[in-house]
Amino acid sequence: MSNVSTADARPLVKVEGLKQYFPITRGVIFSRVVGAVKAVDGISFEISRGETLGLVGESGCGKSTTGRSILQLYRPTAGSVQFDGTELTALDRDDLGAIRPRIQMVFQDSYSSLNPRHSVGKIVAEPMVIDGGYARGEMNERVAELLELVGLNPKHRSRFPHEFSGGQRQRIGIARALALNPDFIVCDEPISALDVSIQAQVVNLLQRLQNELGLTYLFIAHDLSMVRHISTRVAVMYLGRVMELADNADLFNEPLHPYTQSLISAVPLPDPKAERERRPILLKGDLPSPSNPPRGCVFHTRCPLAQAVCSEEVPAYREVRPRHWAACHFVE
């Protein structure tokens, strides 16, 4: 198990120039590739041990694809993903299988990510069955321990997913992800489908587990308030690129990129007085298609600050201030 310490400077996860393209094909028999959806188009970031990197953006920005590409659920088109010093993109199936126990995932939709025909006990034990080397008794004990850890009654292990509420099903998914003592968990919108009062339960659970087990999270979400609450650092994606990345407080208190600024200003506040003061920066139009992203800066078609240069040159993704990266021509 990893220790949360700042002394260990080497990042647990290092992503460099990651690209994930999906081919667009025409024709059924003689199908040919006519283009590509550039879901993720050259992104780089690091995640340190014990921290939570929040990954936010609107639908279609490539945040979920990023999570899946890191786990090698999709084989990246280009770029590098290093986990604890190992280059995951270079590993074959068997070697990946050996490292998988350390990297796990929690999914958004607990209906489709839990087998409805398997009991909860079987679902939570499955990673151990696949990994092998566990005696039956040992596995039973571990399942009970895991269910307890995530706040479920171990006596309910023989029940089926449909007998649980949405929040409880998400706990089952978390218990399964923890079965093999992972270091790193990709949480892909784990609370988006839940009601407000239940969201808080699951977020508190994730934070408690992080503190107790020294976990590292990539927390993918579109809810900026929740990302602000849970993340140590935050990356903002738009059309397959990272627009800005900074420490939590810096990103929310001093967003540098015009997209981040408008995104934060667009979030309604649960406070009528603050709401009357809030002036959202309204963006023009809709999200362009990722199969045909705008030239130059991908955000220039909606950017309130756009100039001629923005439609011609891709802005460099650079460290504008210490630990604060942004990709915009006009950020000083």
């Binding site: 409880q168 339960q201 309604p268």
Partner: protein
């Protein structure tokens, strides 16, 4: 002046597993030009109660068990729940406009967007084809669809989610309604698109003098839009108050819990969110107690024995709770 008065609305659904008690006696009134926010979690009955006002729930399995809904229509005061089918159709779409959460399933995929807007005006306002077309283009332009005249002949799938919701709004306001009922219209949209739609709705509301019922689970959206808010739980009204008062001095433990469970984008990372333990209520049971009692940290014996009535806190503010949150003690019987 109130344009809608709903009293004791109860709706249930027959299912294989038993009767679902979706709405269990909901009463409220709405003034003209007022925006009423209705918040609650899934299964709280917020959508079902508003849909049943216009008999938009499938009957059967749905059944309106009781209630009345008096509405000031353009043809006088009517009870929406007991109107005949034809009279109801005359109110629906004309005096009351609807916007639903999912525009893709509420728009007809085989009809052009322009025809769908024009249809209701030809039906309700007796407009000829030409006049309806002209007015439709004006409406499309008003709701912010660029190149409106060219988009008239487009089909819903040719629009983005935000644009489709604009089309829905155009249909809803086409016949000059007095009341707009919006059921989670921005929930499926991204936050920047949501901001555009909220801006549009606020402008239209003020310009057309609409009364609005805005159903949402998002306490942020409602804070910025509503004059008054109803919080629903387990098919009942838990609390009803003017918007500022509800957020500043919630008097129902559920409202209080919800507000404390929310992180805020304008505040620094806190330590732990206050969560409401437990799970949503079982609607198969007929309400015989406070539906929130099993999750409530203030609950005492009376809460588990009777459904609390709505106690008036002050003018315009009431709470269905046996516990006095301000005094921190149970109310005297």
């Amino acid at each position: 002046m109130s344009i809608l008065e709903v009293s004791d609305l109860a709706v249930e659904f027959n299912t294989i597993e038993g009767v679902v008690h979706a709405v269990n006696g909901v009463s409220f009134s709405l003034d003209s030009r007022e925006t009423l926010g209705i918040v609650g979690e899934s299964g709280s009955g917020k959508s079902v109660s508003m849909m049943s006002l216009l008999r938009l729930i499938p009957e059967p399995p749905g059944r309106i068990r009781s209630g009345a809904a008096w509405f000031e229509s353009s043809k006088g005061r009517v009870d929406l729940l007991s109107l005949s089918k034809t009279k109801r159709a005359a109110v629906r779409g004309r005096d009351i406009g609807f916007v639903f959460q999912d525009p893709m399933s509420s728009l007809n995929p085989l009809m052009t967007v322009g025809e769908q807007i024009a249809e209701s005006m030809r039906l309700h306002l007796d407009l000829g084809e030409r006049a309806a077309r002209k007015r439709t283009v004006e409406l499309l332009d008003r709701v912010g669809i660029p190149a409106a005249a060219e988009r008239y002949g487009n089909y819903p799938h040719q629009f983005s989610g935000g644009m489709r919701q604009r089309v829905m709004i155009a249909i809803a306001i086409a016949c000059g309604p007095k009341l707009l009922i919006a059921d989670e219209p921005t929930t499926a949209l991204d936050v920047t698109v949501q901001a555009q739609i909220l801006d549009l709705v606020k402008n239209l509301r003020d310009e057309l003098g609409l009364a609005v019922i805005w159903i949402s689970h998002d306490l942020g959206v409602v804070a910025g839009l509503a004059d008054r808010v109803i919080v629903m739980y387990g098919g009942l009204v838990a609390e009803c108050a003017p918007v500022d008062e509800l957020y500043e001095q919630p008097r129902h433990p559920y409202t209080e819990g919800l507000l404390e469970a929310l992180p805020r984008v304008d505040q620094d990372r806190g330590e732990e969110l206050r969560s409401i333990e437990g799970t949503p209520p079982d609607l198969y049971l007929a309400p015989a107690a406070c539906p929130f009692a099993p999750r409530c940290s203030y609950a005492f014996d009376r809460c588990r024995q009777a459904v609390p009535p709505r106690y008036v806190v002050n003018n315009g503010h009431d709470t269905a709770c046996f516990y006095d949150l301000a005094e921190r003690r149970p109310r005297s019987e």
